[in-house]
Every structure is written in structure tokens, then in C-alpha cells.
């Protein structure tokens, strides 16, 4: 072995080793947050934070179905009890008020700091008379029974005011003590996990905890629970499910695609040595690609790995050309193995890089990863083919002659020549289809990237509707350097929302200040509480004529005096209660140390009109406070990506054309390459339109890939005009082989249930096939050899 060969092999092995070391340290993720926007604006940053770890992302909705209503209620209670005791869950509600004693005690102890009704009027003679009179009226009702014991402590009914605020009317239906769906066929629970939806491991643990709590409860119940099952939805549940799906599909589809390629290569070459050598560039490229992503992005996404198969489709060509070449002259093989094809491969590589750059530059991290992976992988695969394969290949390497197949294909290609009119007709028909379509071609909805199936989304909507769970589409965010400042800002906003609630413009709002008033508000409320002597005197006057004697209200007087002297209610008081997490979601500090208070708006029938809210916000004049329409914001964010993908994709295509024109130095030849490609793209898009698929960012990515892969075919087919017929037969055979592996591997991706994967897979499989056929149809007639490419 020559020194040069050994040096190359050592260099290659060292490179692979370094990449593997990087990969060993890399973090692999499979959640969809990589396909969540990196938010450019303040609103969008808030939105993304909320989606990743906000209060809503922690919500897991559960339904218990099957068995009898009594069994479902019993299971709901058991599961709720078990989850309340579990550290993975910060809050569990199933409609039962049992187990909320701590929360009740906390509210009762701090009612004078918390109740928005507490003001100087409330404790005047007239105010006391009013509120105590209402309490006495309530005592006459059966509900008075529950509060009767509380009257001596709370004759003004502050607890009632608080509960009204915190548990607005219109909650879910209650049957057998627990929440049920409107049709009564499901028992419902709302839980909040401790970890956000982005922490998929935490979410997965919480889900399995819930399932085992359910299984344990069902087995304790015995036969009665037969047929009962627990269903769950929520952002975290979706993340877990998406990850499971991505992981299982990535493994399955990659394995299947690899198997197909192996079988095809074995069939073509009938040699394990050739197969092994043929896969080396692909494997090296994949390893280098993953390492590059790990270095560049810090994390590697599962979907990126899934597209490892895309490399097979393109990089396997290189080794195929190498083998084709190696047949032609064993003597000159070393170091010059690809010489004849190298300029074509180099140009194909350049056009592919131009195509993938469109993705590399995307600000959607998932796509950018994919671009980086593909570019690195292709470059490394090409270099390994050119420099390492010749060094590794045994001198006695026998590669099967494929020219027999090639000649048959060549004949077919000659016969296909009249098809160029059919291709033009198909392109024209596609333009007609696209021009006359009735539904929009593009889908700019973020949900189109959601890997969660229709059934799961329907279940989520059902549970949400049954629970009257907030969809939290509208949020008002207020900011401050301090927690108390954020609370004060939320209060200022709330003061201007109150009139809208009274007028019925909105149903209500949830403010962190409702649970934790600002210090100023707390001290104003404390200042409204009269001292003991004054309170006694006012009570005596207020109760004159009422059937309640002041003597019965000593506990009230004591509580009011205690409240006057109490230290302000702080955030810590909520630790260990279900209110703690509610506050966490509404009041938090970001990495920069800024505090955010989020006020959730409850619309009437789910609808919030923006204009009155904006007007109220303007009146409140809280600096920086803003209304966020979560859905609109998410959609506009995605639309931004969409525009960017279109822009970058078009730019990529333009660069590809430019590269071709520069390399070929012939407008005619460039047109002959570009035309079949454009026709292939048109037909694929028209096919999607006819199938009723609306195009998303992944479709655009797929189209870019078609340009990248198809331009390779076009270049080789174009080059055929310059080469001897014997070469052309082998070239065509290897093109067909490469095309078959591409179509098969992407076609497999097209069967995925993950929309992102399916969209790219189906687009590329169809596009690559059409591109080759169309290129063949447009090929120029073979010329005598000797004209340089």
C-alpha cells in the first residue's frame, strides 16, 4: 500500500472518530420545539415561552371512559387522590372540592388582603349593614347551611366574594361528585404537571404515573371497572406522543429505506464488498452531518436523523459512478477513480448545496439543522468517494457490468423522446390545474406541522369544551423589573377591564393580582380595616334592626384586628397549594430578570373583541402592557417562516440556474436542464393540489430537494450527449439505480404519519421520479465523442 493511500485512510478514520466523539456528547431531541419559531418580537417571545413551558403547556386534560358512571366517578376520585400525592403533578382538579382544604384555609386567613370588596365603604356603617344583611338573607337559603359556621368570622361574606372571583360560574357538569362531559359519558380531570411541555421526559413520566395510578385504581375496584380507560390530551401529552411517533418512525423508516437500498445495490452488483464500499460514503456523510449539527446547534433533532435517508438517495450515486468508472480502467483507478465524472459530480454537488442552503438559512431551527446536515453529508460523501474509496478498494475489485440494463434503458429513452411534448402538455395541464384551483394552494396554519392526528385533536377539543378549560387565546402581558411592579401593572390593567366585565364585553379575566395583590393594594385594604373600638361602634349601629347581635361577631372583630396587623401576603404563602402553580403560570421572571404578569381574558362564548380591550389598555396606560392573540401571533409567526421559505427556496432555485448556466456556458443546454425540472415541480405541485393537500413549509423543502437532486440527473443526462454510447449505457443504469434508491427511500418517508416527514417524502419521491423521466425525454441526441463537457 502506498504512503498516500495509508495517509488518506488514516485521515478519514480520524475524521470519523472525531465525529463519533462529537455525536457521543450530543443531545438528541424529538419534541417539536425546534419547529417552533425563534421569536423575533416581544409578543412572539412570550408566545413561544408560553408554548414551551407556560401554565397552559403544563395542563394535562384527562378523561375516563367506559364502565359505569359510578365506576368512572370512583376512578376519577382515586386517580385524583393518587396524583395529588405525586410530586410530578402540581395540581389536580376533578370537580370534587375534597382535598382543597389547604387552599380554603389560605384564602380564609388572608381574605381581607385578597378580597377586592375590601375598601373604606365596606367597613362603614352603611357598608357593614349592606353586606351583613346579604349574609343573613343567604342564611335563609339551603346554602346558608354550608356557610352558617363561618358567619361569626366572616359576616361580610368576603369568602363568597373570593370564591366568585376564583371559581367563576359556568364550570363543567358534575355527576356523582366529579366533572363529566356534556354527554355524561366521560369523567373529566384537569391536571397540571410540574414540568413544562418542552420537558418531554418529565411529561412522559407524568403520563405514565397517571396511567399507573389509573391501572391501580381500576384493579382495586375490580370487575366494576371493566372496560374503563384513561385518555389524556394537552400540549405535554402531544409532545410525548410526537416524540414517540418520531422516534419509532425514524427508526422504522430509516431501517426500511436502508434495507431497500441494500437489497437494490446487492441485486445490481451481486457483491458484498461492493455493497460495503458503496455505503461507506453515505455512512461517512451521515456521521459527519450529525456531528456538524451537534456542533452547530447544540442539539440534534430526531427528524433530522430521519432524513438520513435523503443522503442515501443522493450520496449513493457517487459510489455508483465510482464503480462504473472503476470498470473502465483498473490501471488508472487509484486517485483518479472519479476523474471522468468528477466535474459533473462537482457541479451537481454545487447545485445541491445551493438548494440545501435555502434550508440552512431558514430561521426555523429544525429546517436549518436539516440543511446543515445535508450539505455536510453530501460534501463528505463526495470527498470520501473521490479520495478514500480508491484507497480502500481492492485492486482486484470486480464490479458487475450494468451496461446490459443500461442499453435497455437507453433504448427506452430513445423511445421516450416524443414524450417531451407530453411533458410540456403535462406542465401546461398543471398550470391550468393550479390556475383554476378553488382552495388556497398554501397552508399557513402552524397546526399543519402538528404531528398529532385528527382524532387526538378532536379528543382534545372535546375535553376542553367539557371542562370549559380556558383556551387562553387572549392574554394581556405586563412587565416590570420587580414582582410587585408586575402585580401593580396587572392591577392597573384589571381596573380598566372591570367595566368591560360589568358591561358584558368580556366574561371575566384571571389576573395574578387576584391571588397575590400588590403591596400597595394590600396595604390600602389593610388601611380600610377599622380598629377594634371603631369596628365595635360601627357594628352596633349597622346591626340595629337586623336579627344578628354584635355579640355573636367577636370572631369577626378578632379576625379584622389580626388582619390589620398581619404581615403582607407574599408569594411563599402559596407554596404547596394548587394555587402555587396557577400563580407560576401568571407571574414569572424571565432569564433577563424581568417580571411578567399575564392576565388571561375569558371571552363570551370564547370570542374576545380586540377593540374594546385595546381601548381599555390605552386608558390603563401601563407602559409596555400588550394584548396578545395567541393564535393570530402563532399564525403570523408561521406565515413569516412560510414567506421566508418561499423566498429562500426561490433564491436557491435561481442560484441553481445561475450555476448551471455558468458551468455549461450555454443557454440552450441550461434550458434543457431547467425545463424538465420546472415541469417536474409543476406536476408535483398540481398533483398535491388535485389530491387536496395544501402546501406547507415542508412541501417547499421537498420542492427544493427535487431541484437539488433533479439537477444532478439533468447534468448527467446532458453529459451523455458528450460521451461514448458504451459509457452512456452504464451512466443511465447508474442514474436509474440512484433514482430508484431515492424514490424508494423518500417514498417510504411519504408513508409517515408525521406531516413534516410525509410532506417532504411524497414531494421528493414523486418529483425525483418525474425529474429523471422528464430529463430523459429532453435529452439531446448523442454526439460523437471528443467534445469536452
Amino acid at each position: 500500500m502506498s504512503r498516500g493511500r495509508i495517509a488518506r485512510i488514516v485521515l478519514w478514520l480520524a475524521g470519523i472518530g472525531a465525529c463519533l466523539a462529537v455525536i457521543a456528547q450530543a443531545r438528541f431531541v424529538a419534541d417539536l420545539s425546534s419547529f417552533l419559531p425563534e421569536a423575533p418580537t416581544e409578543r412572539q417571545r412570550l408566545l413561544v415561552d408560553q408554548l414551551k413551558s407556560g401554565a397552559l403547556s403544563r395542563m394535562v386534560l384527562m378523561g375516563i371512559e367506559g364502565a359505569t358512571p359510578e365506576a368512572r366517578a370512583g376512578l376519577s376520585r382515586s386517580v385524583a387522590g393518587a396524583l395529588r400525592a405525586d410530586p410530578a403533578f402540581a395540581g389536580v382538579a376533578n370537580g370534587s372540592t375534597a382535598g382543597l382544604e389547604r387552599e380554603r384555609d389560605l384564602l380564609l386567613a388572608n381574605r381581607y388582603a385578597l378580597s377586592p370588596a375590601v375598601d373604606p365603604h365596606r367597613f362603614s356603617v352603611a357598608g357593614l349593614r349592606e353586606s351583613v344583611g346579604e349574609t343573613i338573607a343567604l342564611l335563609a337559603s339551603p346554602l346558608g347551611l354550608a356557610m352558617g359556621a363561618l358567619v361569626p368570622r366572616d359576616p361580610t361574606g368576603e369568602m363568597g366574594v373570593l370564591l366568585d372571583r376564583l371559581a367563576p360560574s359556568g364550570g363543567p357538569l358534575v355527576r356523582d361528585g366529579v366533572w363529566v362531559s356534556a354527554d355524561g359519558r366521560r369523567a373529566l380531570l384537569v391536571t397540571r404537571t410540574r414540568t413544562g411541555a418542552a420537558d418531554i421526559d418529565g411529561q412522559a413520566r407524568a403520563m405514565s404515573t397517571a396511567q399507573s395510578a389509573f391501572a391501580a385504581a381500576a384493579s382495586r375496584m375490580g370487575g366494576e371497572a371493566t372496560g374503563a380507560r384513561l385518555v389524556m390530551t394537552g400540549p405535554g401529552v402531544f409532545s410525548v406522543r410526537a416524540r414517540t411517533m418520531i422516534e419509532s418512525e425514524v427508526t422504522k423508516l430509516s431501517a426500511a429505506a436502508t434495507a431497500v437500498v441494500v437489497v437494490v445495490l446487492l441485486w445490481a452488483y451481486r457483491s458484498f464488498v461492493v455493497l460495503g464500499l458503496g455505503l461507506l460514503p453515505v455512512l461517512s456523510g451521515a456521521i459527519a452531518g450529525i456531528a456538524a449539527v451537534a456542533l452547530g446547534h447544540g442539539v440534534v433533532h430526531g427528524i433530522t436523523l430521519g432524513f438520513g435517508t435523503t443522503l442515501i438517495g443522493e450520496a449513493v450515486d457517487y459510489s455508483i459512478y465510482f464503480f462504473v468508472q472503476s470498470r473502465r480502467g483498473a490501471a488508472a483507478r487509484d486517485a483518479r477513480g472519479l476523474d471522468a465524472f468528477w466535474p459533473t459530480i462537482r457541479l451537481g454537488l454545487a447545485t445541491s448545496i445551493a438548494g440545501f442552503s435555502a434550508m440552512l438559512l431558514s430561521s426555523l431551527p429544525g429546517l436549518s439543522q436539516f440543511g446543515l446536515y445535508s450539505i455536510t453529508g453530501l460534501v463528505v460523501a463526495a470527498l470520501v468517494t473521490r479520495h478514500v474509496l480508491p484507497a480502500l478498494a481492492p485492486t482486484s475489485l470486480q464490479v458487475r457490468d450494468l451496461s446490459g440494463i443500461g442499453r435497455r434503458l437507453l433504448a427506452a429513452m430513445e423511445a421516450a423522446r416524443p414524450l417531451r411534448f407530453a411533458v410540456l402538455a403535462a406542465a401546461a395541464a398543471s398550470i391550468a390545474v393550479l390556475a383554476t384551483r378553488t382552495v388556497p394552494l398554501w397552508d399557513r396554519d402552524l397546526a399543519s406541522l402538528n404531528p398529532i392526528g385528527e382524532a387526538d385533536r378532536a379528543l382534545d377539543a372535546e375535553l376542553r369544551a367539557g371542562l370549559a378549560a380556558p383556551d387562553a387565546r387572549y392574554l394581556i402581558a405586563a412587565f416590570s423589573p420587580t414582582q410587585d411592579g408586575a402585580l401593580a401593572a396587572a392591577e392597573a390593567v384589571g381596573r380598566h377591564l372591570d367595566p368591560l366585565v360589568r358591561e358584558g364585553t368580556i366574561a371575566g379575566y384571571d389576573s395574578p393580582a387576584g391571588l397575590l395583590p400588590s403591596l400597595a393594594t394590600q396595604s390600602a385594604r389593610r388601611a380600610s380595616l377599622p380598629d377594634e373600638a371603631t369596628l365595635r361602634a360601627r357594628l352596633a349601629e349597622a346591626l340595629a334592626g337586623l336579627p344578628l347581635r354584635p355579640g355573636k361577631l367577636e370572631p369577626f372583630i378578632a379576625d379584622v384586628q389580626a388582619a390589620r396587623l398581619a404581615a403582607p401576603l407574599g408569594r411563599d404563602a402559596f407554596r404547596g397549594t394548587t394555587l402555587d402553580l396557577a400563580l407560576d403560570g401568571m407571574l414569572y421572571r424571565d432569564e433577563a430578570g424581568q417580571w411578567t404578569a399575564l392576565v388571561g381574558l375569558r371571552g363570551l362564548g370564547g370570542v374576545v373583541e380586540r377593540a374594546p380591550i385595546d381601548a381599555a389598555l390605552a386608558r390603563a396606560a401601563v407602559p409596555g402592557a400588550m394584548l396578545i392573540d395567541v393564535k393570530a401571533e402563532a399564525d403570523s409567526l408561521y406565515a413569516g417562516y412560510f414567506e421566508q421559505a418561499v423566498r429562500l427556496g426561490s433564491l436557491g432555485a435561481a442560484v441553481v440556474c445561475l450555476l448551471l448556466a455558468l458551468a455549461l456556458r450555454s443557454v440552450r443546454r441550461t434550458a434543457r436542464i431547467v425545463m424538465p425540472l420546472a415541469a417536474a415541480l409543476l406536476v408535483v405541485v398540481a398533483f398535491h393540489a388535485l389530491a387536496g393537500n395544501r402546501l406547507t413549509v415542508p412541501h417547499l423543502v421537498g420542492l427544493t430537494l427535487v431541484v437539488a437532486i433533479g439537477s444532478n440527473y439533468a447534468l448527467f443526462v446532458d453529459g451523455m450527449a458528450e460521451r461514448p454510447a458504451e459509457d452512456n449505457a452504464t451512466t443511465l443504469a447508474s442514474l436509474a439505480l440512484a433514482n430508484f434508491t431515492t424514490v424508494a427511500s423518500f417514498g417510504l418517508l411519504g408513508t409517515s404519519s408525521i406531516p413534516i416527514v410525509d410532506a417532504i417524502g411524497s414531494t421528493v419521491a414523486a418529483g425525483a421520479l418525474l425529474a429523471l423521466v422528464f430529463c430523459a425525454a429532453f435529452a439531446g441526441r448523442a454526439k460523437p465523442a471528443g467534445v469536452p463537457a
Binding site: 335563609a140 337559603s141 339551603p142 336579627p547 344578628l548
Partner: protein, 200 residues
């Protein structure tokens, strides 16, 4: 004619005797059967119905009784609606386990399981109206006094959940109609509900 008369008179005497015996026996039969079971099966036959009520509550906390009045509606076996019209408007619906309360423009849905106190009271009344002896006996020991034309059913709590709240409940009525419900609470509170126009 005479010959024709005799047998007829004898027949009528016999008939009268038979009637007298039957008449004499009837009260005895009625008295013999007039127990909790008989009252319950009588009440169980009640169709859905509306009534008006007046309630006076004597609360230990208050110096004067509080009064309320309104309408009741009962659909056997588990739907009871109490619609208060004075002094304020309020609706309480007990349907199965759920309790719906509307008051001051607000509507609240509660579960009786979570409101054991209200549940004891609602269940005592509702099961009485429905003649549901099984449910009543899970809470109380039952005894009945008087006759079908004027009876009093006394419920004495026999489980802690009920005994914590009520000392006794007396329900009186005539035939299948309930006229009066008196509830004595632990701690001295008591309420008296008078029901008019019971039945459909």
C-alpha cells in the same frame, strides 16, 4: 210474592252483614298495615308534582327567625327543585348527585358528595318524597305515628354524617301528601317548612 220476598231480604241481610264485617275489618287491616313500609309504598306512587312552600328558620345565631317562600317541584325519584321567590330569588336544583344553585345572576354546580351537610338534608327530604326507604335508612332510623289520614314520619340520624348535623326530622302529611317538614339541627337551629297544594 211473599215467598219471593224472603230470600231477597235474607240475601240483603247477609250482604249487609258481610259489608259490616268488611267495614269492621277495614280499619283493622289499615292499622295493621300502617307502618313505615306502607307509608313508603304510598309515597312511592306519587307522580311528579308542584307545591308552594313557606319556611321559617330559627337560627341560634340570629335573634329573629328568617322566613322564605317559594315553589317546590319534585320528579321522582331524584329531581327536586326549590325555587325561592321571597325574600330574594334563588333556585336550588338537586338532580341525582348534582346540586345547581342560582343566586344573584350566578349559577353554581356542586356535587352533593362534596357538600355532605347539604346532601344529608336534600337526601332526607328527597328520599321521603320518593318513598325511598333504602336511602332513608342509610341515614336515619325511621318510625311512623298516626294513621293514613294524619301521619308523622320521624327520622332519627343513625350514622355520624347525619348525626353531626341534625337531631331529628319530622315529616307529617295526609295520605300521600306531605304537609309539613320540621328539621331540628345540632346546635339548636331548626326550620319548619309548610307545604301547600302538594301533588299534581
Amino acid at each position: 210474592m211473599i215467598s219471593g220476598h224472603r230470600p231477597r231480604r235474607a240475601e240483603s241481610r247477609l250482604a249487609r252483614l258481610a259489608a259490616a264485617i268488611v267495614a269492621a275489618c277495614l280499619p283493622a287491616l289499615a292499622w295493621g298495615a300502617w307502618d313505615v313500609g306502607a307509608l313508603m309504598s304510598l309515597l312511592a306512587k306519587n307522580p311528579p308534582g308542584n307545591a308552594t312552600y313557606n319556611e321559617i328558620k330559627h337560627l341560634a345565631l340570629l335573634d329573629a327567625p328568617v322566613e322564605s317562600s317559594g315553589e317546590l317541584r319534585f320528579v321522582p325519584p331524584r329531581y327536586l327543585e326549590r325555587r325561592t321567590t321571597a325574600p330574594g330569588r334563588e333556585v336550588l336544583i338537586a338532580d341525582g348527585d348534582s346540586l345547581v344553585l342560582e343566586r344573584g345572576g350566578r349559577r353554581m354546580t356542586l356535587s352533593m358528595r362534596d357538600q355532605p351537610e347539604i346532601a344529608v338534608l336534600v337526601e332526607s327530604i328527597r328520599a321521603t318524597l320518593a318513598g325511598d326507604r333504602g336511602t332513608l335508612e342509610t341515614l336515619h332510623a325511621l318510625s311512623v305515628a298516626g294513621g293514613i289520614e294524619g301521619w308523622t314520619l320521624t327520622l332519627l340520624p343513625r350514622v355520624p354524617a347525619a348525626a353531626r348535623l341534625v337531631t331529628r326530622i319530622d315529616v307529617s302529611g295526609k295520605q300521600a301528601r306531605i304537609h309539613r317538614i320540621e328539621i331540628q339541627m345540632v346546635g339548636g337551629d331548626r326550620s319548619l317548612m309548610l307545604i301547600r297544594k302538594a301533588g299534581p
